[in-house]
Subunit: 285 residues, 2 copies
């Protein structure tokens, strides 16, 4: 790892990729156990690693550095340790470049096992100009110091959630009833989010932000983790520095699956990211 | 084309695929101009063709016939005529099988040109059992015979929209102000949908249904077509026979792009499909 990366933020170290010597379009990464949550490496962080590799592969052609849309299908649980991202440029256009990526790890016999498969269309968010007619409204939250820090979670919970040490997550008091035995039943969790070490948000960090809150199923009184099958994120604006506001919600928990929608609003009041994931409803313990 | 397909419905003929002789995992299709809308072949129909090929490739392993989640990145505009779908099985699991597909057509020199790239996780919707806690509510619509048939659109519009002859689409009178010079500005269009020849809905038909209504931008007073960059559909239940209710909505038209959400409700009141696409805002004429 270069000296520059060593001094970089936790998020930049966690998503760093290096071209694999002798293997064009392949990048190496190390998945750090500090991004663990719910028994696996956080899905948004995995997506950010793959997105960083894709950016390095695709951006030189036309300067398309930002995923406007990116979709990940989670194939098998990633483990901490070495990972390899194989990238493919599908089409380079004037405003949009589309590509694919697969993240692999090696099993005990050195055989490659796929962790996730990604498709994305990259562009330049600085060129995403045009009137803003957003009719969605940001969540109304008490100030961060009046919200509930995720660091207050019980120690046995935090032991399984190393991710939370890298986030400064402050949940709306109305969104934490589930932690006190009284889930609201509404299927909504919201709060303030920034990285614990103060690194400002940028497009790749938004890919972590959409998957950083507790599972919305907690607010429905369903505990246990909700494995993600698929996650698609739309990045709509380069985020301003400062706190993000994040809302997770679900409206269709049925048949053993649920969709979880996330919205991320920046400090300038822009809806900078929207995502939806399809996840599996936790089985009763 | 087999006799069985010739007698089949328009949708089944339009989505028929045959294994390509001598090319394992490759399927041939013919894109029919009768599915044209807005200067191209309807994106939902293209997705259904690719999904049919993927189903034929993936289902034999574990009986996973239904796309639980499917994502398409649209790379270049498809034309009527021959098309080829190359499929790949990524991972066959007990409950979910994941695969990829690419749809290609040949240019004048016979060179393959990619039209769309697809990722999907297939399962068996008959096994998607578990309590239904859907909090979303279906649209309240006047009966179909009191809604506005898309066949009433002006002839010059219908000329560019052959798709509409294959659909029986009845729009909520509150959703057609834009056709009368008075867009509501809300960014919502809803109505009843079924196939014109009476073929009942099934999972593949839902992939068409989520992309079958007029662009929601019409309701914002923005005319012109909205090319789709990416479309992800979650299929949540096998639809009951009969009319579908479809709602399209947008909340974040900004910076030259918009997200368009679709919900499809079946005659039994289930939310059978949810989708989101990222599309380009039409430039003023």
């Amino acid at each position: 790892m270069t000296a520059a990366v060593e001094q970089a933020s936790e998020f930049d170290r966690g998503t760093a990729v290096t071209p694999s010597a002798g293997h064009p379009s392949v990048y190496d990464a190390v998945l750090d156990g500090g991004w663990r949550i719910g028994g696996g490496i956080n899905g948004g962080l995995l997506l950010a690693v793959a997105a960083n590799a894709l950016r390095q592969e695709l951006a030189p052609a036309n300067g398309h550095t930002d995923p406007l849309s990116i979709s990940a299908y989670y194939v098998s649980p990633a483990r901490q340790g070495a990972a390899e991202i194989r990238t493919e440029a599908i089409r380079s256009g004037r405003t949009v470049t589309t590509g694919a990526a697969t993240m692999l790890q090696r099993d005990e016999d050195g055989k490659p096992v796929e962790r996730l498969r990604v498709l994305a269309s990259y562009g330049d968010l600085d060129k995403a100009v045009g009137e803003v007619r957003t009719s969605a409204t940001p969540p109304q939250l008490p100030p961060p110091d009046q919200c509930v820090s995720s660091r207050l979670a019980p120690p046995d919970f935090l032991d399984q959630a190393a991710l939370l040490e890298r986030l400064d997550l402050r949940l709306d008091p109305r969104s934490v009833g589930w932690a006190l035995g009284e889930p609201s039943g509404e299927g909504r969790i919201q709060g303030w989010l920034r990285l614990a070490d103060g690194r400002e948000p940028d497009p790749l960090m938004l890919l972590l932000a959409v998957d950083a809150l507790p599972p919305v199923t907690f607010d429905l009184g369903l505990f246990g983790w909700t494995p993600t099958l698929e996650l698609t994120v739309h990045l709509r604006s380069r985020p301003a520095p400062g706190w993000l506001r994040v809302v997770h919600s679900t409206r269709n928990l049925a048949g053993g699956f649920l969709e979880e929608d996330a919205e991320v609003w920046d400090s300038a009041g822009r809806l900078v990211a929207q995502s939806r994931q399809l996840a599996v409803v936790p089985r009763p313990a």
